[in-house]
Symmetry: C2
Subunit: 342 residues, 2 copies
């Protein structure tokens, strides 16, 4: 069943998953389309962004954001069209950026909603290169990684929306950029289309050696968003005073407790001391001053216009396919920024 | 046999240890006292500093400093008396700070030697509170930890020369300071004599719970110099935007390869992201501008004069006892800054 004018479909969190979300994790519910009151508007989603952070919201643990309640609609940012409005600043037909979650329709009072206008050129880009993932890449790389021209920058998940952007910005800044991605097709895209200097396949048996060969001068900045084998392969290559912005750990997303050893804790910590390395985690909307977002918007807009930055989306058709698309993304079976089209 | 006027005793590195240094690691050699040439001076050591970094120099691995060669004198900083001088700026009877290593006598050309004058008040303090360990504490805490008044600072190895200083400075800066040390005697010293707000025994079965109870508002700065159980107990208590200066890992010093699991790598990295934590390793003479040393010297000198900082030495008699004293220090059987007196 696809989006209709009479029914609201929504995915609610039915059970907290241990490990990977499965058939018991979400429940598809149907209801009438809600009515609006004065000061409200009705939004019909056109694109839903799927992002690794959502896995964390399914856990009931101390984290940077509140978990999704059992029975509540799964959280998520969407591009939506205003169906009906009694809300100042928003008119029927406007496209907006809102946190409606995994559902067709939502009522909003306009708070935290950004108006994209009647006819945005690439509405879904506001969920990616011009939105949260693009800003994450820009802020983490420039503010924590602080790469200098000539330095070597290694980017994990290089074909993903954040990694692809990090690497392209680092190229613009004059760095040697080495991506890490899963499989030959993604690596070819990263090298040939995105213009990285090299891209190493983390599924290869010789990953560690291949990475070392691609970084003859060591690694000055490692943009971390996967963890696991990639991180452990990077550690011995870090140069003195290297910087490691820690954006996410998608490779460890489904971990439930500590995995089997050996214990890499001592190797991580010893690298920090011996090489005088800085590792810093960040959450995009907490860690940086608001003024940085404007700088990002201007710079990225200019780069896109000049054709200096390439952007790839992985578009999935239909809300009903969201749970599968979410697991595909966690497992790296997407190719580009995952967006569900309604 | 003690120091003599005719013979130079010296410990050379006989074999690279795996794990803890043992009877095969060092060899005590005797030779004639070297003669000096024009531009040189003869130094007789009076105090030798023993420090955890020396264990790293025994390994033949990529590190921040060259390893000690097999057959070469073990490296180390000493306070020495000038026996005879043909070196500008140094006269017989002067006390100096030099890198003579684990031996009675050394010839020096004055390079990297600091003259402490004829009659320094506390010559051995230049190896501790007023020297490398004191400066390490000051720089790591103020430059990376950057604690604000009212924040909670946790200090590992709190009765050691670095930890004791870190905690006392943090108290002067208005923080709640919780030490971690091994055993009731050390903990009592840290609390009663050094003035920390609390000190937790890491040998206790309830260490993790005790630490949590002593940090009701979480941890804003963790000064890391041990690793292991202390680090893993600290991780879940770190507050958003916590800072972790990583100074050393004495608890892991004798590790040979990765220890058995579970793997704490994911827990370390996930804490960095979720809590937006910064971890930064440093090497005291590489990581900070030279001008900081002058600031430290002035501030620490003033604090000592005012009685605001207390300093404890663990003095071992005789060069012949150096190898045992070194292992005692790695295992935490020292109490205060370890110095060998000749």
């Amino acid at each position: 069943m696809s989006q209709s004018k009479n029914t609201n479909r929504r995915f609610v969190l039915a059970n907290r998953p241990t490990g990977k979300p499965d058939a018991d994790t979400f429940r598809l519910e149907e209801s009438d389309i809600p009515e609006i009151k004065d000061g409200q508007m009705l939004l019909r989603s056109t694109y839903l962004s799927l992002d690794p952070y959502m896995r964390g919201r399914m856990n009931d643990s101390k984290s940077y954001a509140k978990p999704v309640e059992i029975g509540a609609v799964m959280t998520g940012q969407v591009v939506a069209e205003v169906v009906e409005s009694q809300c100042d600043g928003f008119a029927q037909g406007d496209h907006v950026l809102a946190f409606s979650g995994w559902q067709d329709y939502a009522v909003s009072d306009g708070k935290n909603v950004i108006n994209l206008g009647k006819d945005p050129k690439h509405p879904s880009w506001s969920l990616g290169i011009l939105g949260m993932p693009g800003y994450t890449a820009y802020a983490g790389l420039t503010q924590i990684g602080a790469p200098k021209a000539g330095e070597t920058v290694v980017v994990a998940a290089a074909s993903g929306p954040v990694g692809a952007t990090v690497g392209q910005i680092a190229k613009i800044l004059g760095c040697r950029v080495v991506g890490v991605a899963g499989g030959a097709e993604k690596c070819a895209h990263v090298k040939d289309t995105l213009g990285f200097d090299a891209c190493i396949d983390h599924k290869s048996k010789s990953f560690e050696d291949d990475l070392a060969a691609a970084c003859p001068d060591g690694i000055d900045v490692y943009f971390e968003n996967v963890g696991g084998r990639v991180l452990y392969g990077v550690l011995p290559l870090l140069n003195p005073f290297a910087r490691v912005p820690v954006c996410g750990l998608v490779g460890w997303t489904n971990l439930d407790g500590l995995p089997e050893g050996p214990d890499h804790g001592p190797a991580i910590m010893a690298t920090l001391v011996k090489m005088k390395v800085k590792m810093e985690g960040f959450i995009i909307y907490d860690s940086f001053p608001l003024s940085l977002y404007d700088t990002f918007s201007k710079e990225m807009g200019k780069w896109l216009e000049e054709g200096k930055v390439h952007y790839k989306e992985h578009i999935v058709d239909g809300l009903e396919n969201t749970p599968d698309a979410f697991n595909d993304m966690l497992d790296g079976r997407n190719f580009g920024k995952t967006v569900v089209k309604f």
